[in-house]
Symmetry: C2
Subunit: 229 residues, 2 copies
Protein backbone atom coordinates (compact mmCIF):
# COMPACT_ATOMS: atom_id res chain seq x y z
CA UNK A 1 0.00 0.00 0.00
CA UNK A 2 1.47 3.42 -0.91
CA UNK A 3 1.98 5.75 2.02
CA UNK A 4 -0.91 8.11 2.67
CA UNK A 5 -0.21 11.82 2.19
CA UNK A 6 -1.06 14.78 4.42
CA UNK A 7 -1.78 17.68 2.08
CA UNK A 8 -1.59 21.29 3.24
CA UNK A 9 -4.04 22.97 0.89
CA UNK A 10 -4.18 26.75 0.47
CA UNK A 11 -7.77 27.82 -0.21
CA UNK A 12 -6.97 31.46 -0.96
CA UNK A 13 -8.19 34.69 0.61
CA UNK A 14 -11.95 34.19 0.59
CA UNK A 15 -13.49 34.21 -2.90
CA UNK A 16 -14.08 30.51 -3.73
CA UNK A 17 -13.16 31.36 -7.35
CA UNK A 18 -9.60 31.98 -6.12
CA UNK A 19 -9.11 28.31 -5.28
CA UNK A 20 -6.65 26.59 -7.59
CA UNK A 21 -7.67 23.72 -9.85
CA UNK A 22 -5.37 21.50 -7.79
CA UNK A 23 -7.09 22.42 -4.53
CA UNK A 24 -10.50 21.72 -6.08
CA UNK A 25 -9.33 18.34 -7.38
CA UNK A 26 -7.91 17.30 -4.00
CA UNK A 27 -11.12 18.30 -2.22
CA UNK A 28 -12.95 15.85 -4.49
CA UNK A 29 -10.39 13.04 -4.18
CA UNK A 30 -9.20 13.05 -0.57
CA UNK A 31 -11.39 11.11 1.88
CA UNK A 32 -10.56 13.13 5.02
CA UNK A 33 -10.75 16.94 5.29
CA UNK A 34 -9.35 18.80 8.31
CA UNK A 35 -9.31 22.51 9.15
CA UNK A 36 -8.86 24.99 11.99
CA UNK A 37 -12.14 26.30 13.40
CA UNK A 38 -13.44 28.41 16.25
CA UNK A 39 -15.17 26.72 19.22
CA UNK A 40 -18.46 26.88 17.30
CA UNK A 41 -19.18 27.07 13.58
CA UNK A 42 -17.17 26.02 10.52
CA UNK A 43 -14.44 28.69 10.48
CA UNK A 44 -13.20 30.64 7.49
CA UNK A 45 -11.18 27.99 5.64
CA UNK A 46 -14.06 25.48 5.67
CA UNK A 47 -16.54 28.21 4.69
CA UNK A 48 -14.49 29.17 1.65
CA UNK A 49 -14.66 25.68 0.16
CA UNK A 50 -18.39 25.35 0.88
CA UNK A 51 -19.98 22.53 -1.11
CA UNK A 52 -16.81 21.79 -3.09
CA UNK A 53 -16.33 19.08 -0.43
CA UNK A 54 -18.51 16.14 -1.50
CA UNK A 55 -21.01 14.89 1.05
CA UNK A 56 -19.99 11.86 3.09
CA UNK A 57 -16.39 12.97 3.66
CA UNK A 58 -14.86 12.57 7.09
CA UNK A 59 -14.28 16.05 8.51
CA UNK A 60 -11.97 16.93 11.41
CA UNK A 61 -12.39 20.41 12.88
CA UNK A 62 -9.44 21.51 15.03
CA UNK A 63 -11.39 23.70 17.42
CA UNK A 64 -9.56 26.48 19.26
CA UNK A 65 -10.15 29.85 20.88
CA UNK A 66 -9.51 32.39 18.12
CA UNK A 67 -7.39 34.66 20.27
CA UNK A 68 -3.70 35.43 20.60
CA UNK A 69 -3.52 32.96 23.48
CA UNK A 70 -1.50 29.94 22.31
CA UNK A 71 -2.46 27.24 24.83
CA UNK A 72 -5.85 26.55 23.25
CA UNK A 73 -4.35 26.41 19.77
CA UNK A 74 -1.47 24.14 20.83
CA UNK A 75 -3.89 21.72 22.47
CA UNK A 76 -6.02 21.68 19.32
CA UNK A 77 -3.01 20.98 17.09
CA UNK A 78 -1.79 18.25 19.47
CA UNK A 79 -5.08 16.36 19.49
CA UNK A 80 -5.78 17.16 15.81
CA UNK A 81 -2.40 15.70 14.84
CA UNK A 82 -3.26 12.48 16.69
CA UNK A 83 -6.62 12.22 14.88
CA UNK A 84 -5.05 12.97 11.49
CA UNK A 85 -2.22 10.46 12.05
CA UNK A 86 -4.78 7.70 12.70
CA UNK A 87 -6.32 8.26 9.25
CA UNK A 88 -2.91 8.46 7.55
CA UNK A 89 -1.74 5.29 9.27
CA UNK A 90 -4.91 3.55 8.06
CA UNK A 91 -3.99 4.53 4.48
CA UNK A 92 -6.32 7.50 3.97
CA UNK A 93 -4.98 10.77 2.56
CA UNK A 94 -5.91 13.89 4.55
CA UNK A 95 -6.28 17.45 3.22
CA UNK A 96 -5.76 20.22 5.79
CA UNK A 97 -7.32 23.50 4.62
CA UNK A 98 -5.65 26.87 5.20
CA UNK A 99 -6.90 30.33 4.29
CA UNK A 100 -4.47 31.98 1.92
CA UNK A 101 -1.27 29.95 1.65
CA UNK A 102 -0.40 27.09 4.04
CA UNK A 103 3.19 28.23 4.72
CA UNK A 104 2.69 32.02 5.14
CA UNK A 105 1.27 32.51 8.64
CA UNK A 106 -0.70 29.33 7.95
CA UNK A 107 -1.81 26.91 10.63
CA UNK A 108 -0.51 24.02 8.53
CA UNK A 109 2.98 24.86 9.80
CA UNK A 110 1.96 23.63 13.27
CA UNK A 111 0.83 20.30 11.82
CA UNK A 112 4.06 19.94 9.85
CA UNK A 113 5.97 20.41 13.11
CA UNK A 114 4.01 17.54 14.63
CA UNK A 115 3.73 15.13 11.66
CA UNK A 116 6.52 16.12 9.25
CA UNK A 117 9.02 13.56 10.57
CA UNK A 118 6.64 10.61 10.67
CA UNK A 119 4.43 11.10 7.62
CA UNK A 120 4.58 12.16 3.97
CA UNK A 121 3.67 15.82 3.50
CA UNK A 122 2.79 17.76 0.35
CA UNK A 123 1.79 21.41 0.13
CA UNK A 124 -0.50 23.03 -2.45
CA UNK A 125 0.25 26.77 -2.47
CA UNK A 126 -2.64 29.23 -2.50
CA UNK A 127 -3.31 32.86 -3.35
CA UNK A 128 -1.91 34.70 -0.31
CA UNK A 129 -3.43 37.75 1.32
CA UNK A 130 -0.78 40.31 0.23
CA UNK A 131 -1.53 39.53 -3.40
CA UNK A 132 -5.30 39.51 -2.83
CA UNK A 133 -5.10 42.85 -1.02
CA UNK A 134 -2.89 44.36 -3.71
CA UNK A 135 -5.39 43.22 -6.36
CA UNK A 136 -8.27 44.79 -4.46
CA UNK A 137 -6.44 48.12 -4.19
CA UNK A 138 -4.74 47.96 -7.63
CA UNK A 139 -1.54 48.45 -5.66
CA UNK A 140 1.77 47.47 -7.34
CA UNK A 141 3.87 45.55 -4.81
CA UNK A 142 7.26 45.61 -6.56
CA UNK A 143 9.05 46.07 -9.85
CA UNK A 144 12.73 45.83 -10.79
CA UNK A 145 15.04 46.25 -7.78
CA UNK A 146 12.36 46.91 -5.16
CA UNK A 147 11.87 44.84 -2.03
CA UNK A 148 8.70 43.94 -0.14
CA UNK A 149 8.30 43.35 3.57
CA UNK A 150 5.57 41.06 4.94
CA UNK A 151 5.25 41.95 8.61
CA UNK A 152 2.75 41.32 11.41
CA UNK A 153 1.27 44.45 13.04
CA UNK A 154 1.96 42.99 16.48
CA UNK A 155 5.65 44.02 16.39
CA UNK A 156 6.83 46.97 18.49
CA UNK A 157 6.65 50.48 17.09
CA UNK A 158 10.47 50.57 16.93
CA UNK A 159 10.69 47.30 14.99
CA UNK A 160 7.95 48.35 12.57
CA UNK A 161 9.69 51.68 11.99
CA UNK A 162 13.05 50.02 11.28
CA UNK A 163 11.71 47.24 9.04
CA UNK A 164 9.16 49.24 7.04
CA UNK A 165 11.68 52.05 6.64
CA UNK A 166 14.12 49.63 4.95
CA UNK A 167 11.78 48.44 2.14
CA UNK A 168 9.97 50.12 -0.77
CA UNK A 169 6.74 48.26 0.04
CA UNK A 170 5.31 46.81 3.24
CA UNK A 171 2.31 44.52 3.70
CA UNK A 172 1.26 44.72 7.35
CA UNK A 173 -0.71 41.66 8.50
CA UNK A 174 -3.42 41.27 11.15
CA UNK A 175 -3.83 44.98 11.71
CA UNK A 176 -6.96 44.95 13.90
CA UNK A 177 -6.34 46.98 17.04
CA UNK A 178 -2.88 48.14 15.88
CA UNK A 179 -4.05 50.90 13.51
CA UNK A 180 -3.06 53.84 15.74
CA UNK A 181 0.46 52.41 16.14
CA UNK A 182 0.75 51.82 12.39
CA UNK A 183 -0.36 55.40 11.77
CA UNK A 184 2.35 56.77 14.08
CA UNK A 185 4.99 54.70 12.26
CA UNK A 186 3.86 55.88 8.83
CA UNK A 187 3.73 59.52 9.91
CA UNK A 188 7.32 59.23 11.15
CA UNK A 189 8.32 57.71 7.80
CA UNK A 190 6.41 60.37 5.83
CA UNK A 191 4.45 57.60 4.09
CA UNK A 192 0.93 57.94 5.53
CA UNK A 193 -0.45 59.08 2.17
CA UNK A 194 1.12 56.00 0.49
CA UNK A 195 -0.89 53.56 2.65
CA UNK A 196 -4.09 51.67 1.83
CA UNK A 197 -6.16 49.68 4.32
CA UNK A 198 -7.72 46.59 2.70
CA UNK A 199 -10.39 44.66 4.59
CA UNK A 200 -11.67 41.18 3.61
CA UNK A 201 -9.88 41.21 0.25
CA UNK A 202 -11.82 39.25 -2.40
CA UNK A 203 -14.88 38.76 -0.15
CA UNK A 204 -18.18 40.31 -1.32
CA UNK A 205 -17.88 42.95 1.44
CA UNK A 206 -14.26 43.88 0.62
CA UNK A 207 -13.31 47.49 1.45
CA UNK A 208 -10.32 49.64 0.47
CA UNK A 209 -9.80 52.75 2.63
CA UNK A 210 -7.19 55.30 3.56
CA UNK A 211 -5.65 54.66 6.96
CA UNK A 212 -7.53 57.57 8.53
CA UNK A 213 -10.85 56.35 7.11
CA UNK A 214 -10.10 52.93 8.58
CA UNK A 215 -9.29 54.42 11.99
CA UNK A 216 -12.57 56.37 11.88
CA UNK A 217 -14.61 53.28 11.02
CA UNK A 218 -12.59 50.82 13.15
CA UNK A 219 -10.23 48.18 11.81
CA UNK A 220 -10.78 44.42 11.84
CA UNK A 221 -8.36 41.52 12.29
CA UNK A 222 -8.79 40.22 8.74
CA UNK A 223 -7.33 43.34 7.17
CA UNK A 224 -3.99 44.41 5.79
CA UNK A 225 -2.26 47.74 5.38
CA UNK A 226 -0.24 48.14 2.18
CA UNK A 227 2.45 50.82 2.27
CA UNK A 228 4.20 52.18 -0.82
CA UNK A 229 7.08 54.62 -1.04
CA UNK B 1 -22.43 49.65 -23.69
CA UNK B 2 -20.58 48.84 -20.44
CA UNK B 3 -16.93 49.82 -20.39
CA UNK B 4 -14.54 47.07 -21.42
CA UNK B 5 -12.18 45.81 -18.74
CA UNK B 6 -8.44 45.15 -18.87
CA UNK B 7 -7.82 42.17 -16.59
CA UNK B 8 -4.38 41.43 -15.16
CA UNK B 9 -4.54 37.68 -14.67
CA UNK B 10 -2.01 35.80 -12.54
CA UNK B 11 -1.42 32.35 -14.01
CA UNK B 12 0.72 31.04 -11.16
CA UNK B 13 4.24 29.65 -11.06
CA UNK B 14 4.13 27.06 -13.83
CA UNK B 15 1.92 24.07 -13.05
CA UNK B 16 -1.33 24.70 -14.98
CA UNK B 17 -3.21 23.11 -12.06
CA UNK B 18 -2.17 26.12 -9.97
CA UNK B 19 -4.36 28.45 -12.02
CA UNK B 20 -7.36 29.74 -10.10
CA UNK B 21 -10.93 28.95 -11.14
CA UNK B 22 -11.34 32.67 -11.86
CA UNK B 23 -8.36 32.76 -14.21
CA UNK B 24 -9.66 29.71 -16.06
CA UNK B 25 -13.12 31.28 -16.41
CA UNK B 26 -11.73 34.55 -17.75
CA UNK B 27 -9.57 32.71 -20.29
CA UNK B 28 -12.78 31.17 -21.63
CA UNK B 29 -14.82 34.39 -21.60
CA UNK B 30 -12.47 37.19 -22.65
CA UNK B 31 -12.10 37.67 -26.42
CA UNK B 32 -8.57 39.13 -26.41
CA UNK B 33 -5.55 37.56 -24.65
CA UNK B 34 -2.26 39.44 -24.28
CA UNK B 35 1.03 38.38 -22.71
CA UNK B 36 4.74 39.22 -22.59
CA UNK B 37 6.89 37.00 -24.79
CA UNK B 38 10.46 36.69 -26.02
CA UNK B 39 11.30 37.70 -29.61
CA UNK B 40 10.35 34.18 -30.74
CA UNK B 41 8.06 31.59 -29.17
CA UNK B 42 5.10 31.86 -26.81
CA UNK B 43 6.85 32.76 -23.55
CA UNK B 44 6.22 31.28 -20.12
CA UNK B 45 2.86 32.89 -19.24
CA UNK B 46 1.22 31.79 -22.53
CA UNK B 47 2.78 28.32 -22.22
CA UNK B 48 1.31 27.81 -18.76
CA UNK B 49 -2.27 28.33 -19.95
CA UNK B 50 -1.75 26.09 -23.01
CA UNK B 51 -5.06 25.02 -24.52
CA UNK B 52 -7.17 26.62 -21.78
CA UNK B 53 -7.43 29.50 -24.29
CA UNK B 54 -10.17 28.53 -26.76
CA UNK B 55 -9.18 28.55 -30.41
CA UNK B 56 -10.10 31.65 -32.41
CA UNK B 57 -9.20 34.15 -29.69
CA UNK B 58 -7.30 37.28 -30.65
CA UNK B 59 -3.81 37.03 -29.17
CA UNK B 60 -1.39 39.92 -28.64
CA UNK B 61 2.21 38.95 -27.82
CA UNK B 62 4.24 41.83 -26.38
CA UNK B 63 7.60 40.76 -27.74
CA UNK B 64 10.75 41.93 -25.99
CA UNK B 65 14.37 40.98 -25.43
CA UNK B 66 14.34 38.94 -22.21
CA UNK B 67 17.34 40.70 -20.70
CA UNK B 68 17.87 43.27 -17.98
CA UNK B 69 17.95 45.96 -20.67
CA UNK B 70 14.80 48.09 -20.31
CA UNK B 71 14.55 49.84 -23.69
CA UNK B 72 13.22 46.78 -25.53
CA UNK B 73 10.68 46.10 -22.79
CA UNK B 74 9.52 49.72 -22.63
CA UNK B 75 8.99 49.82 -26.39
CA UNK B 76 7.01 46.57 -26.21
CA UNK B 77 4.78 47.91 -23.42
CA UNK B 78 4.27 51.20 -25.29
CA UNK B 79 3.12 49.57 -28.51
CA UNK B 80 1.29 46.76 -26.66
CA UNK B 81 -0.68 49.33 -24.67
CA UNK B 82 -1.77 51.01 -27.92
CA UNK B 83 -2.94 47.67 -29.37
CA UNK B 84 -4.75 46.72 -26.17
CA UNK B 85 -6.43 50.12 -25.88
CA UNK B 86 -7.87 49.72 -29.39
CA UNK B 87 -9.65 46.53 -28.35
CA UNK B 88 -10.87 48.04 -25.09
CA UNK B 89 -12.17 51.14 -26.89
CA UNK B 90 -14.02 48.86 -29.30
CA UNK B 91 -15.76 47.23 -26.31
CA UNK B 92 -13.73 44.02 -26.02
CA UNK B 93 -12.36 42.91 -22.67
CA UNK B 94 -8.67 41.99 -22.66
CA UNK B 95 -6.89 39.54 -20.32
CA UNK B 96 -3.16 40.15 -19.83
CA UNK B 97 -1.40 37.03 -18.53
CA UNK B 98 1.36 37.19 -15.92
CA UNK B 99 3.40 34.36 -14.43
CA UNK B 100 2.86 34.21 -10.69
CA UNK B 101 0.95 37.26 -9.49
CA UNK B 102 0.38 40.36 -11.66
CA UNK B 103 1.42 42.89 -9.00
CA UNK B 104 4.53 41.20 -7.53
CA UNK B 105 7.34 41.81 -10.03
CA UNK B 106 4.67 41.31 -12.70
CA UNK B 107 4.75 42.90 -16.12
CA UNK B 108 1.12 43.93 -15.70
CA UNK B 109 2.34 46.85 -13.57
CA UNK B 110 3.82 48.45 -16.69
CA UNK B 111 0.47 48.22 -18.48
CA UNK B 112 -1.35 49.70 -15.49
CA UNK B 113 1.04 52.65 -15.64
CA UNK B 114 0.09 53.19 -19.28
CA UNK B 115 -3.66 52.39 -19.21
CA UNK B 116 -4.76 52.78 -15.58
CA UNK B 117 -5.93 56.37 -15.94
CA UNK B 118 -7.88 55.88 -19.17
CA UNK B 119 -9.40 52.41 -18.80
CA UNK B 120 -11.07 50.14 -16.26
CA UNK B 121 -8.62 47.72 -14.68
CA UNK B 122 -9.22 44.60 -12.60
CA UNK B 123 -6.61 42.22 -11.21
CA UNK B 124 -6.98 38.50 -10.54
CA UNK B 125 -4.28 37.49 -8.06
CA UNK B 126 -2.27 34.33 -8.64
CA UNK B 127 -0.11 31.91 -6.72
CA UNK B 128 3.18 33.79 -6.38
CA UNK B 129 6.65 32.29 -6.63
CA UNK B 130 7.62 32.59 -2.92
CA UNK B 131 4.65 30.43 -1.95
CA UNK B 132 5.30 27.97 -4.79
CA UNK B 133 8.97 27.71 -3.80
CA UNK B 134 8.11 27.27 -0.13
CA UNK B 135 5.67 24.49 -1.03
CA UNK B 136 8.32 22.73 -3.12
CA UNK B 137 10.82 22.87 -0.26
CA UNK B 138 8.29 22.33 2.58
CA UNK B 139 9.75 25.56 3.97
CA UNK B 140 7.65 27.49 6.54
CA UNK B 141 7.78 31.19 5.62
CA UNK B 142 6.41 32.74 8.81
CA UNK B 143 4.42 32.11 11.97
CA UNK B 144 3.37 34.41 14.79
CA UNK B 145 5.51 37.57 15.00
CA UNK B 146 7.95 36.72 12.21
CA UNK B 147 8.53 38.88 9.14
CA UNK B 148 9.38 37.90 5.58
CA UNK B 149 11.46 39.83 3.08
CA UNK B 150 10.88 39.49 -0.68
CA UNK B 151 14.02 40.85 -2.31
CA UNK B 152 15.62 40.75 -5.77
CA UNK B 153 19.12 39.23 -5.94
CA UNK B 154 20.29 42.21 -8.02
CA UNK B 155 20.72 44.44 -4.95
CA UNK B 156 24.22 45.21 -3.70
CA UNK B 157 25.90 42.89 -1.21
CA UNK B 158 25.59 45.60 1.47
CA UNK B 159 21.86 46.06 0.88
CA UNK B 160 21.21 42.32 0.87
CA UNK B 161 23.14 41.93 4.11
CA UNK B 162 21.22 44.71 5.83
CA UNK B 163 17.75 43.67 4.61
CA UNK B 164 18.07 39.89 4.99
CA UNK B 165 19.68 40.40 8.40
CA UNK B 166 16.59 42.28 9.59
CA UNK B 167 14.00 39.56 8.87
CA UNK B 168 13.44 35.98 10.06
CA UNK B 169 12.84 34.79 6.48
CA UNK B 170 14.00 36.04 3.09
CA UNK B 171 12.82 35.01 -0.38
CA UNK B 172 15.49 36.08 -2.86
CA UNK B 173 14.14 36.51 -6.40
CA UNK B 174 15.81 36.09 -9.79
CA UNK B 175 18.96 34.56 -8.38
CA UNK B 176 20.65 33.43 -11.64
CA UNK B 177 24.21 34.73 -11.75
CA UNK B 178 24.04 36.17 -8.20
CA UNK B 179 24.56 32.90 -6.31
CA UNK B 180 28.15 33.61 -5.22
CA UNK B 181 27.11 37.02 -3.84
CA UNK B 182 24.15 35.48 -2.01
CA UNK B 183 26.46 32.84 -0.54
CA UNK B 184 28.83 35.52 0.81
CA UNK B 185 25.89 37.35 2.42
CA UNK B 186 24.55 34.20 4.06
CA UNK B 187 27.97 33.18 5.36
CA UNK B 188 28.34 36.60 6.97
CA UNK B 189 24.90 36.21 8.55
CA UNK B 190 25.66 32.66 9.71
CA UNK B 191 22.60 31.40 7.82
CA UNK B 192 24.07 29.43 4.90
CA UNK B 193 22.76 26.15 6.34
CA UNK B 194 19.27 27.68 6.60
CA UNK B 195 19.03 28.36 2.84
CA UNK B 196 17.32 26.34 0.12
CA UNK B 197 17.66 26.95 -3.62
CA UNK B 198 14.40 26.21 -5.49
CA UNK B 199 14.43 26.03 -9.28
CA UNK B 200 11.29 25.99 -11.48
CA UNK B 201 8.94 25.51 -8.53
CA UNK B 202 5.83 23.49 -9.49
CA UNK B 203 7.22 22.62 -12.98
CA UNK B 204 7.80 18.94 -13.76
CA UNK B 205 11.59 19.53 -13.58
CA UNK B 206 11.47 21.38 -10.23
CA UNK B 207 14.64 21.04 -8.09
CA UNK B 208 15.34 21.84 -4.44
CA UNK B 209 19.05 22.09 -3.55
CA UNK B 210 21.38 23.47 -0.92
CA UNK B 211 23.07 26.69 -1.99
CA UNK B 212 26.41 24.92 -2.51
CA UNK B 213 24.80 22.22 -4.64
CA UNK B 214 23.20 24.98 -6.73
CA UNK B 215 26.54 26.77 -7.15
CA UNK B 216 28.14 23.49 -8.26
CA UNK B 217 25.42 22.80 -10.81
CA UNK B 218 24.89 26.43 -11.90
CA UNK B 219 21.86 28.54 -11.01
CA UNK B 220 19.14 29.72 -13.40
CA UNK B 221 17.13 32.95 -13.55
CA UNK B 222 13.80 31.28 -12.70
CA UNK B 223 14.97 30.23 -9.28
CA UNK B 224 14.59 31.50 -5.74
CA UNK B 225 16.66 31.19 -2.60
CA UNK B 226 14.67 30.82 0.63
CA UNK B 227 16.52 31.75 3.81
CA UNK B 228 15.33 30.86 7.31
CA UNK B 229 16.78 31.85 10.64
Amino acid sequence: MPKAVLYGVGVGPGDPELLTLKAVRLLKEVPVIAYPAPMEGPGLARSIVGDLVPSGRIEIALRMEMSLERASANAAYDSGAVDIAKHLDAGSDVAFLCEGDPLLFGSFIYLMERLGESHEIQVVPGVASPMASASAALFPLATQDESVLLVPASLSEEDLLRLIGACETACIFKVGRHLAKIRRVLVQLGRLDRARYVERASHPDQRVLSLDEAIDKGGIYFAMVLVGS
